[in-house]
Amino acid sequence: MNLLSPQLVFAQVDFNSADEIIHFLAEQLKKENKVKDTFEQAVKSREAVHPTGLPSGEIAVAIPHTDVQYVNAPAITFATLSHPIIFHNMAVTEQTLNVQIVVMLALKNPHSQVEMLQKLMALFQDQELLSKLMQISSDEDLYKAVSKHIQ
């Protein structure tokens, strides 16, 4: 199944906070009917208690997500940021990270999507590739580049 679609990949978007980017990406998922109306608030609430910033290296990534009950159909959104946004570190909640890539996950049954998840985690570890993705300015080119690595 194709979890990534061209409509859900965004290059160099400009937002000022985690809430703003979560709102934006949740709206896109809603437009595609991938998530329920309650998804956005559920992601924000979860982010406040269990943040999802990953200290993956110089380019830090955040993977906001929530319980499967808020999801209609599995999808992932992928956004590079024109300037970093602060997310909290998953493992050390009080620590902040300057996140440059946000990948919001709307998964229905993660065990059946584990291969994609592992590819995504591997992608986050490839800092050289991430810095190349950061340079891409068109949504379509970013989609092509990302989908090569996680499908």
């Binding site: 269990h50 290296g57 929530t66 998953m90 998964l107 570890q125």
Partner: protein, 96 residues
């Protein structure tokens, strides 16, 4: 048979990824899957489930003095940074 509980915020996405990586890394060290079993939960469930396990690995911050078994931070299972020492610790704590 050693029992390992892998927990994350919601108990679904991140722990799935961490569990998969743990199995892969243990296999690389020659530890087969018949030596241990894995459970998965949210961090909120850890306190009630921990007594059934020999080791808990969490990807989120988790401090709870009530847990009597060793608790390891498993973030490196996601980021790969420092993963060898996490695997060393798992092997050491469980005597695998």
């Amino acid at each position: 048979m050693k029992k390992i509980l892998v927990a994350c915020g919601a108990g679904v996405v991140t722990s799935t990824s961490a569990m998969n990586k743990l199995q892969e890394e243990l296999a690389k060290r020659g530890i087969s899957e018949d030596k241990y079993t894995l459970g998965q939960s949210s961090v909120a469930q850890v306190e009630s489930l921990a007594p059934e396990y020999d080791l808990v690995i969490t990807t989120t911050q988790y401090d709870n003095d009530a847990i009597k078994v060793p608790v390891i931070n498993g973030l490196p299972l996601l980021t790969n940074i420092g993963i060898d020492s996490v695997i060393d610790e798992v092997i050491d704590k469980l005597d695998l």
